[in-house]
Symmetry: C2
Subunit: 243 residues, 2 copies
DNA sequence: TGAATAAAATGACATTTGTCAACTTTGCTT
DNA sequence: AAGCAAAGTTGACAAATGTCATTTTATTCA
């Protein structure tokens, strides 16, 4: 990322005028929508590039619309009063951000920040609400999505409450693996996070993450080189992360 | 509760043949449904009494249908491999249990146990799925409900990750207060839980709960007599529970 | 009502986790 | 490529929390 790119703010771009041929349609809540519904979305949407590190949603602030990720990586988190973050999940291609109520204006419950340069399609709330009401299959898709999110966060709660630190760190690595996958025969995680962000995901401190990773390295479970993490023994990691 | 009552299992009763006049309709996802929709539900539902301590849902087991609470109190929780529970929320009059997917059979992500004798209306999945598909306003109601649940569990995650034990216990008391309210000028919580269950709610141990409650008593924030808890200073408690 | 039993409170102690400081490595800038 | 700043590692220590044993207080049932 160059200094120049860092300074670009909400540059409006035209990714794909027609949502029905979008690369991220297949993994979106919109995938079961009718051609007419997608037509409506295509007409109402606007696309933006968010550079690495740029904020998309701010916890506590109302959002005027919803965001669909076209390409990129986004972390979704909450902060306590000392600004310590807890990363709740990662969003990827096709996922929706910023939808938090169908019938009332509401403060965003979470923050969202781009982890890579990310292309996003934006829809005004009033357009999206109308489209939802006109398209029952979209409401069902959203229901399914949020139901699954709820189950995931419930699992996360149990882990935060009952796991020890090595377990939490192992689980954080599994989450990174599940979210964006790995590359090559070394199983290099596609997501590179700082130790602080791994701690924010695991619910511990950066020092504890360092110590847990060192322990995993000794056991031959992972290999690290800076922010790059290779998973050498996925089963072992999974069993440490088991609850 | 008598020994006799304890042995009653799924005794079928007839609470109210017509859902449109149900006492719990106003606080249910069904409240915005059309008369025709409620007619369908009325025809398909069956009602049961679950006695205090009786299990309604078992984590990991598929459920054949969904449950609406007519009257009573229910705890919803997950367990780790040592059977330590984390209470995720309480369900009350009008709330739905056991709905976890619209289009596929799925294991229950949570367990549910009656905390008082509880009257429940049951709907087979196939009936409920049909009713959802026929009534878009119901899908929207469910979407709103699960969206709010998600926000609550996200908040809970942050607290579990970042709060100290007194904060977690204060938050647990606030949750008990918010779920079922209080009675009288002494502000006696309507929900009476064992110290173990308060610990399961707070994400700590029963001994730590005892110690935190003793601390709160010294500060004049609460008064306890066995399982009965009076909140003497709600603002103080709320500020301890703040994150 | 009064044993008997279960639950809660308390203190001592062990364990885990967080914090801080010093040092090492990495990666960026010139 | 060297130097600098930021990030990561490590160990010592402090603080918080969990565990266990004991005492005290509720609750149950005859």
């Amino acid at each position: 990322m160059t200094m120049v790119a860092n300074k670009i703010k909400k540059s409006h771009i035209n990714v794909n005028a027609d949502c029905s041929t979008c690369v991220s349609l297949g993994c979106s809540v919109l995938r079961n929508c009718s051609p007419e519904c997608l037509q409506e979305v295509s007409a109402a949407k606007r696309c933006f590039v968010y550079v690495k590190g740029q904020r998309i949603l701010m916890e506590g602030i109302e959002s005027d619309g919803v965001y669909f990720i076209n390409t990129g990586k986004v972390k979704i988190f909450k902060s306590d009063k000392d600004d310590k973050q807890l990363i709740l999940r990662f969003a990827k291609s096709g996922e929706i951000l910023g939808f938090c109520s169908i019938d009332e204006r509401k403060e965003q419950p979470v923050s969202a920040v781009a982890l890579d340069d990310t292309v996003i399609c934006y829809l005004d709330n009033k357009d999206f609400m109308r489209i939802i009401r006109d398209n029952p299959e979209l409401a069902l898709g959203l229901l399914k999505f949020y139901n699954e999110e709820l189950i995931e966060v419930e699992n996360k709660s149990l882990k935060l409450a009952r796991m020890n630190v090595p377990g939490k760190v192992a689980d954080a690595l599994m989450t990174m693996y599940d979210a964006y996958g790995s590359n090559g025969k070394n199983c290099t995680l596609n997501l590179m996070l700082s130790r602080q962000d791994i701690a924010n995901l695991a619910g511990t401190t950066k020092e504890q993450v360092s110590k847990a990773l060192s322990e995993f390295k000794l056991k031959g479970i992972v290999k690290t080189k800076g922010k790059q993490i290779d998973i050498l023994n996925l089963n072992s990691l999974r069993s440490i992360a088991e609850i």
